[in-house]
């Protein structure tokens, strides 16, 4: 495998402003120094409770918002996308695309499906005339829609079909990487399975890589090769999907897994449940030391004082916990 993207120490701090002079009185450290890489053809899952910075990280990668610091080295060219001007960024824009949670909000209700899917190609002048029309039909068919659908408007489609339209649009410029932000969270279970299958199929067909963002661990496990777990703007564990769920190495990962109710009543009755107390802390005033310590049942004194670094503990497994060597945590 070759590396497609390498993210180093990405940070995004949102200023908190107050008063008529909009003085900055603090920062929401939405993304607080995360590093990971994505191989070509790979799906990296990004999980964590709401507010932990998943969406912000995704939006930074696409340069939809400017990162505070960090670098993202992309492609064979090894270009640092974080440093490029908007002008220089243009040729790279088409190579990374995004799919959103709410397909309804991200599709212009006044445009036909054909116009929506064709727009990126028109703007980038990659296709014109009848070649453009053919390409639109080809894209719609590859996501399971029909050529007749080009003339219809988004409101005439169900949630699952609208997500297909969003996917077709994301594929229009033949991207290499797709950042999918909660793409199935708003869908009914039977439709969710259809979209997950479609994403897997398209990955094979077009050799795509995904960064798949979701709060649903079961969905993330299903689709991902590797998974990164975020807590309060930091990655606390990265590992291949199976290892992560079978033998988590970070107490937060263990707690998240334990909280997922399994659709199997007798297993569910037998499982030991780790109940996390309290809510995720306010990211503008994170706890000292390990951000997870106020909710961690294994916390000791050092956890309150020193922030653990993300470090490799075995091949492919990175964890940010002072005690990961000695803890025996339970998986699914």
């Amino acid at each position: 495998m070759t590396k497609l993207l390498e993210v180093n120490d990405l940070r995004k701090y949102f200023p908190i402003q107050k008063g008529i002079f909009q003085r900055t009185i603090g920062y929401v450290k939405a993304v607080d120094g995360i590093s990971f890489d994505v191989q070509r053809g790979e799906t990296l899952g990004l999980v964590g409770e709401s507010g932990c910075g998943k969406t912000t990280a995704g939006r930074c990668l696409l340069r939809l918002i400017p990162p505070t610091s960090g670098s993202f080295i992309f492609g064979e060219e090894q270009v640092d996308l974080a440093k490029l001007s908007h002008q220089e960024l243009r040729p790279f824009r088409r190579r990374i695309q995004m799919i959103f949670q709410d397909p309804h909000a991200s599709l212009n209700p006044r445009m036909t499906v054909g116009d929506i899917v064709g727009e990126p190609m028109r703007v980038n002048r990659t296709e014109t005339g009848s070649a453009l029309q053919d390409r639109i039909v080809e894209l719609l068919e590859s996501v399971g829609l029909r050529s007749q659908d080009t003339r219809r408007y988004p409101h005439a489609f169900s949630g699952g079909q609208r997500q297909r339209i969003g996917i077709a649009r994301a594929l229009a410029l033949q991207p290499e990487l797709i950042v999918a932000d909660e793409p199935v969270s708003a869908l009914d279970v039977s439709v969710q399975a259809q979209i997950l299958n479609l994403l897997s199929e398209l990955r094979e067909k077009f050799q795509l890589s995904y960064i798949f963002i979701a709060h649903d661990l079961s969905v993330v496990e299903h689709i991902s090769d590797r998974v990164a777990v975020m807590y309060l703007g930091k990655i606390v564990e990265i590992s291949d999907a199976e290892t992560l769920y079978q033998s988590p190495k970070h107490p937060y990962t263990e707690a998240l897994i334990s909280a997922v109710p399994l659709p199997d009543p007798s297993v569910q009755r037998k499982r030991e449940h780790i109940r996390l107390e309290g809510d995720v802390p306010d990211p503008s005033q994170p706890p000292t030391g390990c951000y997870f310590h106020p909710r961690c049942r294994y916390a000791t004194d050092i956890c309150k004082q020193e922030t653990p670094e993300l470090r490799q503990i075995t091949e492919g497994v990175q964890v940010a916990c002072h005690h990961s060597d000695t803890l025996a945590l339970q998986g699914v």
Binding site: D188, S190, A193, S218, P263, P265, Q268, H273
Partner: protein, 344 residues
């Protein structure tokens, strides 16, 4: 989560039969709830599961005569055994605005929704709102009601209750707001709590807290719970009995073990197979159900699941009845609405 301390004694609390709730619209009549029958025993948890639009919420609202206009209950019975010895009361016949209905809503059947912000008043403190609910139920003065509010806030596991009592809903996290809703719903010790997607908007860790709290309070107070959700994991976790709905109808009903280990309806089977399960060796393709739920004004003839069903046969052009399995009657035990399991 162990449900060992449950006090379900199998005497009926509520028996719904042939319930039909409709919405007249410009384009035709929507049969939101169509010939729905199931019962809830005292202290029991009944899970109602199905995809969006299948009639779960309207079933719950019908049970409290809270169906939004222009909707109305068109047929059926909702027999409520207020006391174990008395004749039941048919809620379907009680006027929505009557004093009797208000009493039932205030004291006997409580409801909580997915988004507590819609039911909490933003301009009053949570303490005021709980105290209000307490005073509706008991003849107590303001001071006592406030003390009870603080007690309830503590009971639902919110830290620093004496401070929280004076906060406004927007100052609380989503999980805390749902706890406040539970506190309000339970301050009158209802015999039934209808929980409509109570944890759908919450993170898994907070969901586990809220569901755990509901179970503890149920063990303590002995109320029955009707738990509406689309999440089969939540159903497996909490429910004793399960009702599976599709397009306004009950398509399968049974104990939680019947539904998960011996599902008979092709829709139930499809749902169970199509969800990714944590820790189960991932398959590259999930067995998905083709197509989507039909529009309520364009239902197919016969079995509503027909167009998506892998087992469809000519007989399916007619609507099957809900029938009992293994010689049981349709009202008792495992029942399914499918021609594959209907002996003619």
């Amino acid at each position: 989560m162990a449900s060992a301390e449950k006090t379900s004694d199998q005497t009926p609390l509520l028996e719904i039969s042939g319930l039909k709730t409709i919405f007249p619209t410009d384009d035709g009549i929507v049969n939101a709830v169509n010939d729905v029958s199931f019962s809830i025993a005292r202290g029991q948890t009944v899970g109602v599961v199905g995809e969006s639009g299948c009639g779960k919420s309207i079933t719950g609202l019908s049970m409290l005569q809270l169906v939004p206009s222009p909707g109305r209950i068109e047929a059926g019975e909702i027999l409520f055994y207020r006391n174990a010895d008395d004749e039941p009361l048919d809620i379907a016949q009680v006027s929505p605005k009557s004093e009797l209905m208000r009493q039932i809503r205030g004291n006997e059947i409580a409801i909580i929704f997915q988004e507590p912000m819609t039911s909490l008043n933003p301009v009053y403190t949570v303490g005021n709102q709980i105290a209000e609910a307490v005073m509706l139920h008991d003849q107590v003065d303001k001071k006592t009601a406030r003390e009870r509010a603080i007690e309830m806030i503590a009971r639902v596991g919110i830290p620093a209750p004496a401070q929280r009592v004076d906060e406004y809903p927007h100052q609380l996290s989503g999980g805390m707001r749902q706890r406040i809703m539970i506190a309000m719903a339970l301050c009158c010790s209802p015999t039934l709590l209808i929980a409509d997607e109570p944890t759908t908007a919450l993170d898994v860790t907070i969901q586990a807290q809220v569901l755990g709290l509901m179970q503890e309070l149920q063990a303590e107070m002995g109320m029955a719970i009707m738990l509406i959700t689309h999440d089969l994991g939540v159903i497996a976790d909490l429910a004793d009995e399960v009702v599976v709905m599709y397009s306004g109808r009950v398509v399968e009903r049974g104990s939680v073990d019947d539904i998960f280990y011996n599902p008979l309806h092709p829709y139930t089977q499809g749902l169970l197979k199509s969800i990714p399960v944590l820790g189960r060796t991932p398959q590259s393709t999930l067995p998905s159900i083709p197509g989507t739920v039909p529009h309520p004004l364009a239902l197919p003839d016969g079995c509503s699941f027909g167009p998506r069903c892998p087992e469809r046969m000519p007989k399916c052009d007619e609507m099957p009845e809900l029938v009992g399995i293994n010689g049981k009657t349709e009202n008792d035990g495992h029942a399914v609405r499918c021609w594959l399991h209907t002996d003619v």
